[in-house]
Protein backbone atom coordinates (compact mmCIF):
# COMPACT_ATOMS: atom_id res chain seq x y z
CA UNK A 1 0.00 0.00 0.00
CA UNK A 2 2.91 2.36 -0.37
CA UNK A 3 1.71 5.34 -2.32
CA UNK A 4 0.15 3.34 -5.10
CA UNK A 5 -0.97 6.29 -7.20
CA UNK A 6 2.59 7.42 -7.73
CA UNK A 7 3.50 3.99 -9.02
CA UNK A 8 0.79 3.78 -11.64
CA UNK A 9 2.22 3.28 -15.10
CA UNK A 10 2.49 6.61 -16.89
CA UNK A 11 0.06 5.71 -19.61
CA UNK A 12 -2.72 5.13 -17.07
CA UNK A 13 -2.86 8.78 -16.07
CA UNK A 14 -4.09 10.30 -19.28
CA UNK A 15 -6.35 7.65 -20.66
CA UNK A 16 -8.82 9.28 -23.02
CA UNK A 17 -11.58 6.98 -24.17
CA UNK A 18 -11.13 4.79 -27.26
CA UNK A 19 -7.47 5.43 -27.88
CA UNK A 20 -5.39 2.52 -29.09
CA UNK A 21 -2.22 3.91 -27.72
CA UNK A 22 -2.68 5.99 -24.57
CA UNK A 23 0.91 7.15 -24.70
CA UNK A 24 0.54 8.78 -28.14
CA UNK A 25 -2.71 10.36 -27.22
CA UNK A 26 -1.24 11.82 -24.11
CA UNK A 27 1.51 13.48 -26.09
CA UNK A 28 -0.61 15.33 -28.66
CA UNK A 29 -3.11 16.24 -25.98
CA UNK A 30 -0.53 17.82 -23.77
CA UNK A 31 1.14 19.61 -26.68
CA UNK A 32 -2.14 21.27 -27.59
CA UNK A 33 -2.65 22.34 -24.00
CA UNK A 34 0.89 23.64 -23.74
CA UNK A 35 0.56 25.61 -26.96
CA UNK A 36 -2.71 27.13 -25.84
CA UNK A 37 -1.18 28.09 -22.55
CA UNK A 38 1.89 29.65 -24.14
CA UNK A 39 -0.33 31.51 -26.59
CA UNK A 40 -2.37 32.88 -23.72
CA UNK A 41 0.69 34.07 -21.83
CA UNK A 42 2.20 35.52 -24.99
CA UNK A 43 -0.89 37.48 -25.99
CA UNK A 44 -1.31 38.84 -22.46
CA UNK A 45 2.31 39.88 -22.24
CA UNK A 46 2.16 41.47 -25.68
CA UNK A 47 -0.95 43.37 -24.75
CA UNK A 48 0.45 44.84 -21.57
CA UNK A 49 3.81 45.56 -23.14
CA UNK A 50 2.27 47.38 -26.11
CA UNK A 51 -0.03 49.71 -24.21
CA UNK A 52 2.58 50.47 -21.59
CA UNK A 53 5.35 51.07 -24.10
CA UNK A 54 3.07 53.16 -26.33
CA UNK A 55 2.13 55.39 -23.42
CA UNK A 56 5.56 55.47 -21.85
CA UNK A 57 6.71 58.75 -23.54
CA UNK A 58 3.70 60.52 -22.03
CA UNK A 59 4.41 59.21 -18.55
CA UNK A 60 8.06 60.27 -18.86
CA UNK A 61 7.28 63.74 -20.17
CA UNK A 62 4.17 64.77 -18.26
CA UNK A 63 2.92 62.21 -15.77
CA UNK A 64 1.62 64.87 -13.36
CA UNK A 65 -0.31 66.80 -15.99
CA UNK A 66 -1.84 63.55 -17.25
CA UNK A 67 -3.56 63.13 -13.94
CA UNK A 68 -4.20 66.67 -12.72
CA UNK A 69 -4.11 68.83 -15.85
CA UNK A 70 -6.82 69.97 -18.23
CA UNK A 71 -6.79 70.64 -21.97
CA UNK A 72 -5.92 68.18 -24.71
CA UNK A 73 -3.24 68.74 -27.26
CA UNK A 74 -0.38 70.75 -25.74
CA UNK A 75 0.41 68.89 -22.73
CA UNK A 76 -2.31 66.33 -22.30
CA UNK A 77 -4.52 66.76 -19.24
CA UNK A 78 -6.57 63.80 -18.12
CA UNK A 79 -8.43 65.44 -15.24
CA UNK A 80 -11.75 66.04 -17.06
CA UNK A 81 -11.85 62.41 -18.15
CA UNK A 82 -10.83 60.99 -14.78
CA UNK A 83 -13.29 63.24 -12.99
CA UNK A 84 -16.05 62.45 -15.49
CA UNK A 85 -15.44 58.74 -15.08
CA UNK A 86 -15.73 59.06 -11.31
CA UNK A 87 -18.80 61.31 -11.54
CA UNK A 88 -20.76 59.12 -13.93
CA UNK A 89 -19.84 55.78 -12.42
CA UNK A 90 -20.36 56.81 -8.80
CA UNK A 91 -23.66 58.55 -9.53
CA UNK A 92 -24.76 55.53 -11.56
CA UNK A 93 -23.74 53.28 -8.69
CA UNK A 94 -25.75 55.25 -6.15
CA UNK A 95 -28.83 55.12 -8.36
CA UNK A 96 -28.35 51.43 -9.14
CA UNK A 97 -27.79 50.51 -5.48
CA UNK A 98 -30.92 52.31 -4.32
CA UNK A 99 -33.13 50.72 -6.97
CA UNK A 100 -31.25 47.43 -7.09
CA UNK A 101 -31.23 46.74 -3.36
CA UNK A 102 -34.98 47.25 -3.24
CA UNK A 103 -35.45 45.02 -6.27
CA UNK A 104 -33.24 42.25 -4.90
CA UNK A 105 -35.00 42.27 -1.52
CA UNK A 106 -38.36 42.24 -3.24
CA UNK A 107 -37.37 39.33 -5.47
CA UNK A 108 -36.14 37.23 -2.57
CA UNK A 109 -38.63 38.05 0.15
CA UNK A 110 -41.68 39.97 -0.86
CA UNK A 111 -43.20 39.16 -4.18
CA UNK A 112 -45.10 35.97 -5.03
CA UNK A 113 -43.23 33.19 -6.82
CA UNK A 114 -44.77 33.85 -10.21
CA UNK A 115 -44.00 37.55 -10.24
CA UNK A 116 -40.54 36.70 -8.94
CA UNK A 117 -39.74 34.72 -12.06
CA UNK A 118 -40.96 37.54 -14.29
CA UNK A 119 -38.91 40.12 -12.41
CA UNK A 120 -35.81 37.94 -12.45
CA UNK A 121 -36.26 37.39 -16.19
CA UNK A 122 -36.52 41.11 -16.83
CA UNK A 123 -33.30 41.63 -14.89
CA UNK A 124 -31.54 39.00 -17.03
CA UNK A 125 -33.01 40.55 -20.14
CA UNK A 126 -31.61 43.98 -19.25
CA UNK A 127 -28.17 42.39 -18.98
CA UNK A 128 -28.42 41.00 -22.50
CA UNK A 129 -29.16 44.31 -24.24
CA UNK A 130 -26.09 45.61 -26.17
CA UNK A 131 -24.59 48.90 -24.97
CA UNK A 132 -25.25 50.63 -28.26
CA UNK A 133 -28.97 50.11 -27.78
CA UNK A 134 -28.79 51.72 -24.36
CA UNK A 135 -26.84 54.60 -25.85
CA UNK A 136 -29.31 55.24 -28.64
CA UNK A 137 -32.22 54.92 -26.24
CA UNK A 138 -30.56 57.42 -23.90
CA UNK A 139 -29.89 59.88 -26.67
CA UNK A 140 -33.16 59.63 -28.60
CA UNK A 141 -35.70 58.87 -25.90
CA UNK A 142 -34.37 59.79 -22.49
CA UNK A 143 -32.52 62.98 -23.44
CA UNK A 144 -35.51 64.89 -24.93
CA UNK A 145 -37.68 63.84 -22.01
CA UNK A 146 -35.12 64.91 -19.47
CA UNK A 147 -34.68 68.23 -21.26
CA UNK A 148 -38.38 69.07 -21.18
CA UNK A 149 -39.39 67.44 -17.89
CA UNK A 150 -36.64 66.16 -15.63
CA UNK A 151 -34.18 69.09 -15.64
CA UNK A 152 -36.93 71.67 -14.98
CA UNK A 153 -38.30 69.39 -12.26
CA UNK A 154 -34.95 69.05 -10.48
CA UNK A 155 -34.47 72.80 -10.91
CA UNK A 156 -37.84 73.48 -9.30
CA UNK A 157 -36.71 71.40 -6.30
CA UNK A 158 -33.99 74.01 -5.81
CA UNK A 159 -31.12 71.86 -7.08
CA UNK A 160 -29.68 74.78 -9.04
CA UNK A 161 -26.10 73.59 -8.58
CA UNK A 162 -26.81 70.99 -11.26
CA UNK A 163 -26.98 73.74 -13.89
CA UNK A 164 -29.68 75.63 -15.72
CA UNK A 165 -32.25 73.66 -17.73
CA UNK A 166 -32.24 76.47 -20.31
CA UNK A 167 -28.55 76.02 -21.04
CA UNK A 168 -28.74 72.24 -21.18
CA UNK A 169 -28.65 70.66 -24.60
CA UNK A 170 -29.54 67.02 -24.06
CA UNK A 171 -26.35 65.02 -23.64
CA UNK A 172 -25.12 65.48 -20.09
CA UNK A 173 -23.26 63.85 -17.25
CA UNK A 174 -26.59 63.18 -15.54
CA UNK A 175 -28.04 61.53 -18.65
CA UNK A 176 -24.97 59.30 -19.03
CA UNK A 177 -25.15 58.40 -15.34
CA UNK A 178 -28.79 57.39 -15.57
CA UNK A 179 -28.15 55.27 -18.66
CA UNK A 180 -25.16 53.69 -16.89
CA UNK A 181 -27.30 53.04 -13.82
CA UNK A 182 -29.78 51.07 -15.90
CA UNK A 183 -26.92 49.15 -17.51
CA UNK A 184 -25.23 48.11 -14.25
CA UNK A 185 -28.50 47.35 -12.50
CA UNK A 186 -28.67 43.69 -13.66
CA UNK A 187 -25.17 42.87 -12.39
CA UNK A 188 -25.89 44.45 -9.05
CA UNK A 189 -29.34 42.91 -8.67
CA UNK A 190 -28.34 39.38 -9.61
CA UNK A 191 -25.31 39.25 -7.33
CA UNK A 192 -27.13 40.97 -4.47
CA UNK A 193 -29.97 38.54 -4.91
CA UNK A 194 -27.59 35.60 -4.61
CA UNK A 195 -25.86 37.07 -1.59
CA UNK A 196 -29.19 37.72 0.14
CA UNK A 197 -30.50 34.25 -0.70
CA UNK A 198 -27.35 32.75 0.80
CA UNK A 199 -28.16 34.14 4.25
CA UNK A 200 -28.89 30.92 6.17
CA UNK A 201 -32.56 30.19 6.71
CA UNK A 202 -32.04 29.35 10.37
CA UNK A 203 -30.73 32.86 11.06
CA UNK A 204 -33.97 34.19 9.63
CA UNK A 205 -35.96 31.72 11.70
CA UNK A 206 -33.93 32.59 14.78
CA UNK A 207 -34.87 36.25 14.36
CA UNK A 208 -38.51 35.39 13.83
CA UNK A 209 -38.44 33.22 16.93
CA UNK A 210 -37.23 36.20 18.91
CA UNK A 211 -40.31 38.14 17.91
CA UNK A 212 -38.84 40.04 14.96
CA UNK A 213 -41.20 41.36 12.31
CA UNK A 214 -40.57 40.64 8.65
CA UNK A 215 -39.02 44.08 8.16
CA UNK A 216 -36.79 43.62 11.17
CA UNK A 217 -35.63 40.30 9.80
CA UNK A 218 -34.64 42.04 6.56
CA UNK A 219 -33.14 45.14 8.13
CA UNK A 220 -31.48 43.65 11.22
CA UNK A 221 -30.56 40.14 10.15
CA UNK A 222 -30.47 39.67 6.39
CA UNK A 223 -28.86 42.94 5.30
CA UNK A 224 -26.18 43.02 8.03
CA UNK A 225 -25.29 39.39 7.30
CA UNK A 226 -25.16 40.07 3.56
CA UNK A 227 -23.54 43.50 3.87
CA UNK A 228 -20.04 42.61 2.76
CA UNK A 229 -21.31 40.65 -0.23
CA UNK A 230 -23.55 43.54 -1.24
CA UNK A 231 -20.45 45.76 -1.19
CA UNK A 232 -18.84 43.24 -3.51
CA UNK A 233 -21.82 43.42 -5.85
CA UNK A 234 -21.63 47.22 -5.80
CA UNK A 235 -17.94 47.23 -6.69
CA UNK A 236 -18.48 44.77 -9.50
CA UNK A 237 -21.20 47.04 -10.87
CA UNK A 238 -18.83 49.98 -10.44
CA UNK A 239 -16.15 48.19 -12.43
CA UNK A 240 -18.65 47.72 -15.24
CA UNK A 241 -19.61 51.39 -15.10
CA UNK A 242 -16.06 52.75 -15.24
CA UNK A 243 -15.25 50.86 -18.42
CA UNK A 244 -18.51 51.38 -20.30
CA UNK A 245 -17.82 53.17 -23.56
CA UNK A 246 -20.37 53.34 -26.34
CA UNK A 247 -23.47 54.19 -24.35
CA UNK A 248 -21.59 56.89 -22.45
CA UNK A 249 -19.96 58.30 -25.58
CA UNK A 250 -23.42 58.77 -27.10
CA UNK A 251 -25.04 60.36 -24.08
CA UNK A 252 -22.39 62.42 -22.29
CA UNK A 253 -21.57 64.85 -25.09
CA UNK A 254 -17.82 64.24 -24.88
CA UNK A 255 -16.55 67.71 -24.05
CA UNK A 256 -13.17 67.78 -22.34
CA UNK A 257 -13.90 70.29 -19.63
CA UNK A 258 -13.95 69.81 -15.91
CA UNK A 259 -17.70 69.94 -15.44
CA UNK A 260 -19.37 70.08 -12.05
CA UNK A 261 -22.83 70.95 -13.35
CA UNK A 262 -24.40 67.62 -14.13
CA UNK A 263 -26.94 69.03 -16.63
CA UNK A 264 -24.06 69.85 -19.01
CA UNK A 265 -21.90 67.64 -21.19
CA UNK A 266 -18.67 66.15 -19.91
CA UNK A 267 -16.56 63.16 -20.78
CA UNK A 268 -15.13 59.95 -19.37
CA UNK A 269 -11.86 58.16 -20.04
CA UNK A 270 -13.47 55.41 -22.10
CA UNK A 271 -15.73 57.66 -24.16
CA UNK A 272 -12.90 60.13 -24.76
CA UNK A 273 -10.61 57.41 -26.06
CA UNK A 274 -13.34 56.12 -28.35
CA UNK A 275 -14.26 59.50 -29.83
CA UNK A 276 -10.86 61.20 -29.97
CA UNK A 277 -9.16 58.19 -31.47
CA UNK A 278 -10.20 58.80 -35.08
CA UNK A 279 -8.54 62.17 -35.52
CA UNK A 280 -5.43 61.62 -33.46
CA UNK A 281 -1.79 62.22 -34.27
CA UNK A 282 0.76 59.68 -33.10
CA UNK A 283 1.48 61.75 -29.99
CA UNK A 284 -2.24 62.02 -29.31
CA UNK A 285 -2.39 58.26 -29.51
CA UNK A 286 0.31 57.99 -26.87
CA UNK A 287 -1.77 60.19 -24.59
CA UNK A 288 -4.88 58.14 -25.25
CA UNK A 289 -2.91 55.00 -24.41
CA UNK A 290 -1.86 56.64 -21.18
CA UNK A 291 -5.52 57.30 -20.41
CA UNK A 292 -6.17 53.66 -21.21
CA UNK A 293 -3.58 52.59 -18.66
CA UNK A 294 -5.26 54.79 -16.08
CA UNK A 295 -8.65 53.27 -16.82
CA UNK A 296 -7.17 49.81 -16.58
CA UNK A 297 -5.69 50.56 -13.18
CA UNK A 298 -9.00 51.98 -11.92
CA UNK A 299 -11.02 49.03 -13.24
CA UNK A 300 -8.54 46.51 -11.92
CA UNK A 301 -8.54 48.15 -8.48
CA UNK A 302 -12.33 48.19 -8.32
CA UNK A 303 -12.57 44.58 -9.48
CA UNK A 304 -10.02 43.45 -6.93
CA UNK A 305 -11.92 45.25 -4.19
CA UNK A 306 -15.08 43.53 -5.35
CA UNK A 307 -13.41 40.12 -5.18
CA UNK A 308 -12.04 40.89 -1.77
CA UNK A 309 -15.50 41.75 -0.46
CA UNK A 310 -17.07 38.66 -1.97
CA UNK A 311 -14.42 36.37 -0.53
CA UNK A 312 -14.91 37.99 2.87
CA UNK A 313 -18.64 37.29 2.60
CA UNK A 314 -17.88 33.64 1.84
CA UNK A 315 -15.68 33.43 4.90
CA UNK A 316 -18.37 35.00 7.05
CA UNK A 317 -20.98 32.51 5.87
CA UNK A 318 -18.53 29.64 6.29
CA UNK A 319 -18.27 30.54 9.95
CA UNK A 320 -22.02 30.62 10.45
Amino acid sequence: MTNSSAQLPRSRRFVVGGSKSPATERSWYSYVLAIAWILFLGVSALFFWSIISKSLPIWQKQAGTMITGTGWGGPYGGLPMILGTLQTSLLALVLAVVVGLGTAIAIVFLIPARLRLITATIVELLAAIPSIVYGVWGLLVLAPWMLTHFYPFLNSLGLTFLGSPDLASGPSILLASIVLAVMILPVFVSITREVISAVPQDLIEASLSLGATRWQVIAKTVLPTARVGIMGAAFLALARATGETVAVALTIGTVSNVQWHLFYPGTTIASWIATAFGESSSVDIQALMALGVLLMVISLGVSLLSRWFISRQRKLLAKV
Binding site: D202, E205, A206, L210, G211, A212, T213, K319
Partner: protein
Protein backbone atom coordinates in the same frame (compact mmCIF):
# COMPACT_ATOMS: atom_id res chain seq x y z
CA UNK B 1 -58.84 4.57 16.82
CA UNK B 2 -59.88 7.88 18.33
CA UNK B 3 -61.02 6.24 21.55
CA UNK B 4 -57.84 4.33 21.61
CA UNK B 5 -55.88 7.54 21.30
CA UNK B 6 -57.71 9.36 24.06
CA UNK B 7 -57.11 6.56 26.50
CA UNK B 8 -53.50 6.56 25.57
CA UNK B 9 -53.04 10.27 25.84
CA UNK B 10 -54.08 10.73 29.45
CA UNK B 11 -51.40 13.06 30.59
CA UNK B 12 -49.41 12.74 33.70
CA UNK B 13 -49.69 16.48 33.99
CA UNK B 14 -53.43 16.78 34.37
CA UNK B 15 -53.75 13.65 36.44
CA UNK B 16 -51.28 14.83 39.04
CA UNK B 17 -52.72 18.34 39.06
CA UNK B 18 -49.67 20.08 37.64
CA UNK B 19 -50.21 23.37 35.81
CA UNK B 20 -50.55 23.01 32.03
CA UNK B 21 -48.45 25.34 29.88
CA UNK B 22 -49.60 24.26 26.44
CA UNK B 23 -52.40 22.07 25.17
CA UNK B 24 -52.39 20.40 21.80
CA UNK B 25 -55.79 19.24 20.58
CA UNK B 26 -55.86 17.13 17.47
CA UNK B 27 -53.12 19.18 15.86
CA UNK B 28 -52.20 18.45 12.26
CA UNK B 29 -49.82 20.22 9.90
CA UNK B 30 -50.02 19.93 6.15
CA UNK B 31 -48.02 21.39 3.28
CA UNK B 32 -49.94 22.06 0.09
CA UNK B 33 -52.61 19.60 1.16
CA UNK B 34 -50.15 16.87 2.09
CA UNK B 35 -50.30 15.97 5.75
CA UNK B 36 -46.93 15.95 7.49
CA UNK B 37 -48.10 15.22 11.01
CA UNK B 38 -51.50 14.64 12.62
CA UNK B 39 -53.42 13.40 15.65
CA UNK B 40 -51.24 15.29 18.09
CA UNK B 41 -53.20 15.63 21.31
CA UNK B 42 -51.41 16.09 24.59
CA UNK B 43 -50.81 18.54 27.38
CA UNK B 44 -47.45 20.09 28.05
CA UNK B 45 -46.99 20.46 31.77
CA UNK B 46 -45.47 23.66 33.05
CA UNK B 47 -41.93 23.57 34.42
CA UNK B 48 -41.27 20.12 33.09
CA UNK B 49 -39.31 18.87 30.14
CA UNK B 50 -41.45 17.27 27.45
CA UNK B 51 -39.61 15.35 24.78
CA UNK B 52 -40.82 14.39 21.34
CA UNK B 53 -39.18 11.27 19.99
CA UNK B 54 -39.59 9.15 16.89
CA UNK B 55 -37.74 8.16 13.74
CA UNK B 56 -37.00 10.53 10.84
CA UNK B 57 -40.13 11.63 9.02
CA UNK B 58 -42.37 11.17 12.03
CA UNK B 59 -43.11 14.89 12.10
CA UNK B 60 -41.49 15.85 15.40
CA UNK B 61 -39.85 19.01 14.14
CA UNK B 62 -42.87 19.95 12.04
CA UNK B 63 -45.07 19.68 15.11
CA UNK B 64 -42.60 21.66 17.22
CA UNK B 65 -42.52 24.48 14.70
CA UNK B 66 -46.29 24.75 14.82
CA UNK B 67 -46.02 25.69 18.48
CA UNK B 68 -44.51 29.12 17.78
CA UNK B 69 -46.17 29.52 14.39
CA UNK B 70 -42.96 29.24 12.46
CA UNK B 71 -44.92 27.66 9.63
CA UNK B 72 -46.72 30.95 9.05
CA UNK B 73 -44.19 32.09 6.48
CA UNK B 74 -44.10 28.82 4.56
CA UNK B 75 -46.42 29.11 1.57
CA UNK B 76 -48.92 26.26 1.51
CA UNK B 77 -48.45 25.32 5.16
CA UNK B 78 -51.63 24.78 7.15
CA UNK B 79 -52.05 24.01 10.82
CA UNK B 80 -55.36 22.57 12.01
CA UNK B 81 -56.61 21.59 15.44
CA UNK B 82 -56.03 23.72 18.50
CA UNK B 83 -52.86 24.76 20.24
CA UNK B 84 -53.50 26.57 23.48
CA UNK B 85 -50.96 28.60 25.40
CA UNK B 86 -52.24 29.21 28.91
CA UNK B 87 -55.70 28.39 27.58
CA UNK B 88 -55.59 30.81 24.63
CA UNK B 89 -55.57 29.54 21.04
CA UNK B 90 -52.28 30.71 19.54
CA UNK B 91 -53.81 30.67 16.05
CA UNK B 92 -56.76 32.71 17.34
CA UNK B 93 -57.63 36.24 16.27
CA UNK B 94 -56.34 38.01 19.37
CA UNK B 95 -52.82 36.73 19.09
CA UNK B 96 -49.98 38.82 17.70
CA UNK B 97 -47.53 36.38 16.22
CA UNK B 98 -44.44 38.40 17.11
CA UNK B 99 -45.60 38.61 20.71
CA UNK B 100 -46.40 34.89 20.76
CA UNK B 101 -42.85 34.14 19.70
CA UNK B 102 -41.45 36.14 22.58
CA UNK B 103 -43.51 33.91 24.89
CA UNK B 104 -42.56 30.69 23.08
CA UNK B 105 -38.85 30.83 22.35
CA UNK B 106 -36.87 28.49 20.15
CA UNK B 107 -33.42 26.95 19.99
CA UNK B 108 -32.35 25.32 16.76
CA UNK B 109 -30.48 22.23 15.66
CA UNK B 110 -27.41 24.12 14.58
CA UNK B 111 -25.97 26.75 16.92
CA UNK B 112 -26.91 29.90 15.02
CA UNK B 113 -25.85 33.08 16.80
CA UNK B 114 -26.05 36.13 14.54
CA UNK B 115 -22.64 36.20 12.87
CA UNK B 116 -22.35 39.96 12.58
CA UNK B 117 -23.21 40.57 16.23
CA UNK B 118 -21.10 40.38 19.37
CA UNK B 119 -21.90 38.05 22.26
CA UNK B 120 -23.63 40.89 24.07
CA UNK B 121 -25.63 41.95 21.02
CA UNK B 122 -26.73 38.38 20.45
CA UNK B 123 -27.91 38.04 24.02
CA UNK B 124 -30.05 41.17 23.81
CA UNK B 125 -31.10 40.83 20.16
CA UNK B 126 -34.61 39.65 21.05
CA UNK B 127 -35.13 42.60 23.36
CA UNK B 128 -33.92 44.97 20.68
CA UNK B 129 -36.30 43.44 18.13
CA UNK B 130 -39.02 44.21 20.61
CA UNK B 131 -38.06 47.82 21.03
CA UNK B 132 -36.11 47.79 24.28
CA UNK B 133 -33.47 50.51 24.00
CA UNK B 134 -32.52 51.40 27.56
CA UNK B 135 -28.91 50.40 28.19
CA UNK B 136 -29.40 49.49 31.81
CA UNK B 137 -32.27 47.14 30.99
CA UNK B 138 -30.28 45.51 28.21
CA UNK B 139 -27.18 45.11 30.39
CA UNK B 140 -29.21 43.55 33.12
CA UNK B 141 -31.00 41.16 30.77
CA UNK B 142 -27.72 40.17 29.10
CA UNK B 143 -26.11 39.24 32.38
CA UNK B 144 -29.18 37.48 33.70
CA UNK B 145 -29.77 35.40 30.58
CA UNK B 146 -26.10 34.54 30.12
CA UNK B 147 -25.98 33.43 33.74
CA UNK B 148 -29.09 31.34 33.24
CA UNK B 149 -27.45 29.70 30.25
CA UNK B 150 -24.32 28.99 32.32
CA UNK B 151 -22.24 31.11 30.01
CA UNK B 152 -21.64 34.29 32.00
CA UNK B 153 -18.41 33.25 33.72
CA UNK B 154 -16.68 32.33 30.50
CA UNK B 155 -17.79 35.34 28.44
CA UNK B 156 -18.03 38.12 31.02
CA UNK B 157 -14.68 39.59 30.00
CA UNK B 158 -15.30 39.38 26.25
CA UNK B 159 -18.89 40.43 25.73
CA UNK B 160 -17.92 42.59 22.77
CA UNK B 161 -16.22 39.81 20.86
CA UNK B 162 -17.94 38.35 17.78
CA UNK B 163 -20.14 35.41 18.73
CA UNK B 164 -18.46 33.26 16.08
CA UNK B 165 -15.37 33.07 18.29
CA UNK B 166 -17.20 30.85 20.76
CA UNK B 167 -17.06 27.07 20.60
CA UNK B 168 -20.07 25.18 19.26
CA UNK B 169 -21.37 24.34 22.73
CA UNK B 170 -20.90 27.92 23.89
CA UNK B 171 -22.65 29.20 20.78
CA UNK B 172 -25.61 26.97 21.51
CA UNK B 173 -25.75 28.20 25.09
CA UNK B 174 -25.62 31.74 23.73
CA UNK B 175 -28.65 30.87 21.59
CA UNK B 176 -30.39 29.59 24.70
CA UNK B 177 -29.48 32.81 26.52
CA UNK B 178 -30.77 34.82 23.57
CA UNK B 179 -34.14 33.07 23.85
CA UNK B 180 -34.20 33.30 27.65
CA UNK B 181 -33.61 37.06 27.61
CA UNK B 182 -37.21 37.51 26.52
CA UNK B 183 -38.39 35.55 29.56
CA UNK B 184 -40.47 33.10 27.57
CA UNK B 185 -42.95 30.75 29.20
CA UNK B 186 -42.05 27.91 26.87
CA UNK B 187 -38.74 27.07 25.24
CA UNK B 188 -38.81 24.89 22.12
CA UNK B 189 -35.61 23.00 21.41
CA UNK B 190 -35.17 21.31 18.05
CA UNK B 191 -32.46 18.67 18.49
CA UNK B 192 -30.31 21.24 20.27
CA UNK B 193 -27.34 18.96 20.82
CA UNK B 194 -27.20 17.11 17.52
CA UNK B 195 -24.36 19.30 16.27
CA UNK B 196 -22.41 19.17 19.53
CA UNK B 197 -19.76 16.90 21.00
CA UNK B 198 -20.62 14.69 24.01
CA UNK B 199 -19.21 17.05 26.62
CA UNK B 200 -21.04 20.08 25.22
CA UNK B 201 -24.16 17.90 24.98
CA UNK B 202 -23.88 16.95 28.63
CA UNK B 203 -23.60 20.59 29.66
CA UNK B 204 -26.73 21.51 27.71
CA UNK B 205 -28.59 18.60 29.29
CA UNK B 206 -27.52 19.68 32.77
CA UNK B 207 -28.59 23.19 31.91
CA UNK B 208 -32.05 22.02 30.90
CA UNK B 209 -32.70 20.38 34.22
CA UNK B 210 -32.06 23.65 36.04
CA UNK B 211 -33.80 25.77 33.43
CA UNK B 212 -37.10 23.96 33.76
CA UNK B 213 -37.64 25.73 37.07
CA UNK B 214 -38.17 28.95 35.16
CA UNK B 215 -39.35 27.81 31.74
CA UNK B 216 -41.33 24.92 30.29
CA UNK B 217 -39.17 22.99 27.83
CA UNK B 218 -40.29 21.02 24.80
CA UNK B 219 -37.43 19.21 23.10
CA UNK B 220 -37.29 17.25 19.89
CA UNK B 221 -34.57 14.66 20.00
CA UNK B 222 -33.31 11.84 17.88
CA UNK B 223 -31.49 10.41 20.79
CA UNK B 224 -33.61 8.11 22.95
CA UNK B 225 -31.08 8.03 25.77
CA UNK B 226 -31.24 11.79 25.88
CA UNK B 227 -35.02 11.74 26.04
CA UNK B 228 -34.97 9.24 28.87
CA UNK B 229 -32.28 11.15 30.76
CA UNK B 230 -33.71 14.62 30.63
CA UNK B 231 -37.44 14.58 29.99
CA UNK B 232 -40.32 14.18 32.39
CA UNK B 233 -42.96 13.55 29.77
CA UNK B 234 -42.55 12.03 26.36
CA UNK B 235 -44.47 12.01 23.10
CA UNK B 236 -43.73 9.21 20.66
CA UNK B 237 -44.46 9.85 16.99
CA UNK B 238 -44.26 7.52 14.04
CA UNK B 239 -44.71 7.80 10.31
CA UNK B 240 -48.01 6.30 9.21
CA UNK B 241 -48.67 4.26 6.10
CA UNK B 242 -49.45 7.40 4.08
CA UNK B 243 -46.08 8.81 5.13
CA UNK B 244 -47.67 11.31 7.50
CA UNK B 245 -46.36 11.41 11.04
CA UNK B 246 -48.77 10.75 13.88
CA UNK B 247 -48.74 10.68 17.63
CA UNK B 248 -48.63 7.10 18.87
CA UNK B 249 -48.37 7.60 22.55
CA UNK B 250 -47.92 10.29 25.14
CA UNK B 251 -47.11 9.68 28.78
CA UNK B 252 -44.53 10.25 31.43
CA UNK B 253 -41.08 9.41 30.15
CA UNK B 254 -40.81 6.71 32.75
CA UNK B 255 -43.91 4.94 31.43
CA UNK B 256 -42.99 5.41 27.77
CA UNK B 257 -39.65 3.73 28.33
CA UNK B 258 -40.66 1.12 30.90
CA UNK B 259 -44.26 0.18 30.35
CA UNK B 260 -45.56 1.61 27.09
CA UNK B 261 -49.10 0.81 26.05
CA UNK B 262 -48.47 0.55 22.32
CA UNK B 263 -46.21 -2.23 21.12
CA UNK B 264 -44.66 0.08 18.52
CA UNK B 265 -43.43 2.36 21.28
CA UNK B 266 -41.80 -0.60 22.95
CA UNK B 267 -40.18 -1.70 19.71
CA UNK B 268 -38.82 1.77 19.11
CA UNK B 269 -37.49 2.38 22.60
CA UNK B 270 -35.84 -1.03 22.55
CA UNK B 271 -34.17 -0.06 19.29
CA UNK B 272 -35.92 -2.68 17.17
CA UNK B 273 -36.43 -0.07 14.43
CA UNK B 274 -35.82 3.58 13.73
Amino acid sequence: MTDDLTTKTTTSATSSGVKVAMQLQDVAVSFNGRTAVRDATFNVAANRVTSMIGPSGSGKTTLLRALNRLHDLTPGAKVTGKILLEGVDIYGPNITVTELRTRVGMVFQRPNPFPTMTIYENAVSGLRFNGVKKKSLLDEAAEESLRAAALWESVESRLNVAASNLSGGEQQRLCIARALALKPEVLLMDEPTSALDPIATLRIEELMSTLKQQVTIIIVTHNMQQASRISDDCAFLLMGEDRAGELIEFNTTEKIFNSPIDSRTLDYTLGRFG
